[in-house]
């Protein structure tokens, strides 16, 4: 898939930075809650971006990225809670810890392909909440209760509300990470990553150190998702083991598939999408109950599941890719 048009990217970025400043003009439209929601969307986008680096660009399937998200979140939470580290300093720490964990998990993953790697990561995702409750870690992780944190404070006396600052904080982190990912993919290393995905044997023959690239990609991918986890820890100001269950990893997969496997812009769209559906679940449920008259609560996961299956038939490149293809067809471009 071709790169996102640059002009559009700048316009979107400028909009993203300016919109919160409209708060005094439209206090109901640009409300604090909405900004917080958009912040969680940005966090989701970063997590999906991490998964996409691994699955979309390197061809290693992971159903367990919730695990790295959890590691990132807990690293940040423990550092803030026990060492009183400022929230912004936890991001690089979470990135490093997750890189190491991802790199180490990438080593056995070298021997696994396709279904088997999916199986191993699925097992990881199922086991994460239990590992977090492990008795020896309880002093640090707070066991089942988790850790309660403080929300990030507005620095330098800037005239912003907490939600506004959180939004800018997340947005800046995402822009930096997106830029780094785009540059990495556009470099020699990025091409090597994609070559491994497309033609493993040929890449190996060409002299690419496939083992090194695969494990390092695993590490980088885990670091991205871990940073998202760390951001979420400061945004929600709370971590608890049971929120990092298998369904978190499934949400990342939704973001990946909806946005488009192997598309950076798609990852952002995918992240925004799953948070949106997750948050409108209640409205959706009410709609099914009252307007359609069906006697049960439609949950977000039913929508997710149906979408996952339907997309595999209709738009294997994700919604962004599908819309792009449709647009090209409409304009009559071939090839």
């Amino acid at each position: 898939m071709p790169a996102f048009p640059k002009k559009l990217l700048w316009v979107l970025l400028a909009l993203a930075f300016l919109v919160p400043l409209l708060h005094p003009l439209f206090p109901d439209v640009v409300s604090g809650y909405r900004l917080f929601l958009v912040s969680t969307m940005i966090i989701a986008a970063i997590a999906v971006l991490g998964l996409n680096l691994l699955t979309g660009f390197n061809g290693q399937i992971s159903l367990g990225h919730g695990a790295f998200y959890a590691v990132g979140a807990y690293t940040a939470a423990v550092l803030m809670d026990h060492l009183n580290m400022p929230y912004w300093a936890t991001l690089p720490c979470a990135a490093v810890v997750c890189f190491i964990v991802g790199y180490l998990f990438g080593l056995p993953a070298l021997k696994l392909e396709g279904h088997y790697l999916a199986l191993a990561t699925f097992a990881l995702a199922l086991a994460v909440p239990q590992i977090l409750k492990y008795k020896w870690l309880e002093g640090m992780t707070g066991g089942v209760q988790g850790i309660v944190l403080n929300k990030p404070e507005v620095p330098f006396g800037l005239p912003l509300s907490e939600d506004q600052w959180l939004y800018y904080y997340c947005l800046i982190v995402m822009v930096v990470l997106y830029w780094a990912a785009a540059n990495m993919l556009n470099s020699r290393s990025g091409r090597a990553m994609m070559a491994i995905r497309d033609q493993y044997m040929a890449a190996d023959t060409m002299g690419i150190d496939t083992a090194l690239y695969k494990t390092v990609t695993f590490g980088i991918s885990a670091a991205y998702t871990g940073i998202a986890g760390a951001l979420s820890a400061s945004a929600i100001a709370f971590v608890a083991p049971d929120s990092f269950n298998i369904f978190l990893s499934i949400k990342f997969l939704i973001g990946l598939v909806v946005g488009g496997v192997g598309s950076l812009a798609g990852s952002v769209a995918g992240g925004i999408f799953y948070v949106l559906v997750d948050n409108s679940a209640q409205a959706l449920s009410l709609f099914v109950r009252n307007d359609l008259g069906l006697p049960f609560d439609l949950s977000a996961y039913t929508v997710f599941g149906v979408l996952l299956i339907a997309l595999m038939y209709l738009m294997p490149m994700g919604i962004v890719g599908g819309v792009y293809l449709a647009w090209r067809k409409l304009r009559g471009v071939r090839g």
Partner: protein
């Protein structure tokens, strides 16, 4: 010592459940090379069906048979309607579809029957069943029922023409098609049977773990471990793997308890069951991917 035997017996009972789910996984894997991540949730859904039938007044065994039959039909439909068109799709698409199925089964069960934990009855009479102090009535019943089911499956695959055709379709689809086996339908039947075996496991385990939409998560993980230990390409191995892993699981927890009692240091216990399964899965996959009894796959480069 008595405690040890109790743990062993309860390990065997758990193992019987894992053996069933592992067998269901292997049945699908052998014929289509797919790992069914939704196997556990499908079994959970069937268990809810049987619970619903029982609350409508049917007896346990009638509800049991109805739910198993329902699962069979559901399995056949899922194969024909959802997976058949994706037969040549890339691995990621297949996995995504399975995860989609998992999400649908789980959320639909939650939507229809709510996420509240429910008690599930045991069909086995309390007295005069089981061996006092060694194995409880339900555990013994579970082992007996699963052994009967496994025996029936063995007889079906070994001695009936249909079973032979299904094995042929799984082993060599082209040749089977040439001699007149309807391979497509054999795969669908295999799916149906796998779903039924999973349903048996779900209904049997529901009394132990209680009924809720997330009850099969841990069991599915253990079933994966069992299938891998036994060799994911070998049905008999998967069954044996189930019993091995079931006993191993309880022995690890037992050993952890004993160590804690003796030294006062907590290393491992019931809370680490899923972690143990994770370690088994990763160890087998990296050290001996063919498992104990599986075929070593040789790939031509």
């Amino acid at each position: 010592m008595e405690q040890f035997i109790q743990q062993l017996a309860s390990g065997l009972a758990n193992g019987a459940i894992y053996a069933c789910v592992a067998l269901a996984l292997v049945m699908i894997y052998v014929s289509t090379d797919h790992i069914n991540f939704a196997q556990g949730e499908m079994a959970m859904f069937s268990t809810y069906i049987s619970w619903q039938l029982m609350t409508w007044g049917l007896s346990f065994w009638v509800a049991f048979i109805a739910a198993v039959a329902f699962s069979f039909v559901l399995g056949v439909i899922i194969e024909r309607a959802i997976l058949r068109p994706l037969h040549n799709a890339p691995v990621l698409s297949i996995i995504v579809v399975f995860i989609g199925l998992l999400a649908i089964c789980n959320s639909m069960a939650g939507a229809i029957w709510s996420y509240l934990i429910k008690e599930f009855p045991s069909p086995f009479p309390k007295s005069s069943f089981g061996i006092a102090g060694v194995i409880g009535p339900h555990q013994l019943g579970v082992v007996v029922v699963t052994l009967i089911v496994l025996g029936l499956l063995f007889v079906f695959f070994r001695y009936t023409p249909l079973g032979l055709a299904m094995r042929a379709a799984a082993q060599n689809p082209q040749m089977a098609r040439l001699v007149g086996v309807r391979v497509d339908w054999m795969l669908a039947l295999g799916w149906g049977l796998a779903a039924s075996v999973g349903a048996v496991a779900g209904i049997m385990v529901a009394h132990i773990v209680y009924l809720d939409p997330n009850m099969m998560g841990g069991i599915l993980l253990y079933a994966f471990a069992s299938a891998l230990v036994g060799g994911i390409s070998n049905p008999g191995g998967a069954v044996l793997g189930g019993f091995i892993v079931g006993v191993l699981e309880n022995m690890v927890a037992f050993a952890g308890n004993q160590i804690e009692k003796a030294t006062g240091i907590y290393i491992i216990g019931n809370g680490e069951k899923l972690t143990v399964a994770l370690i088994i899965v990763i160890t087998v996959l990296t050290v001996k991917p063919a498992g104990l009894f599986g075929r070593v796959v040789v790939k031509r480069v």
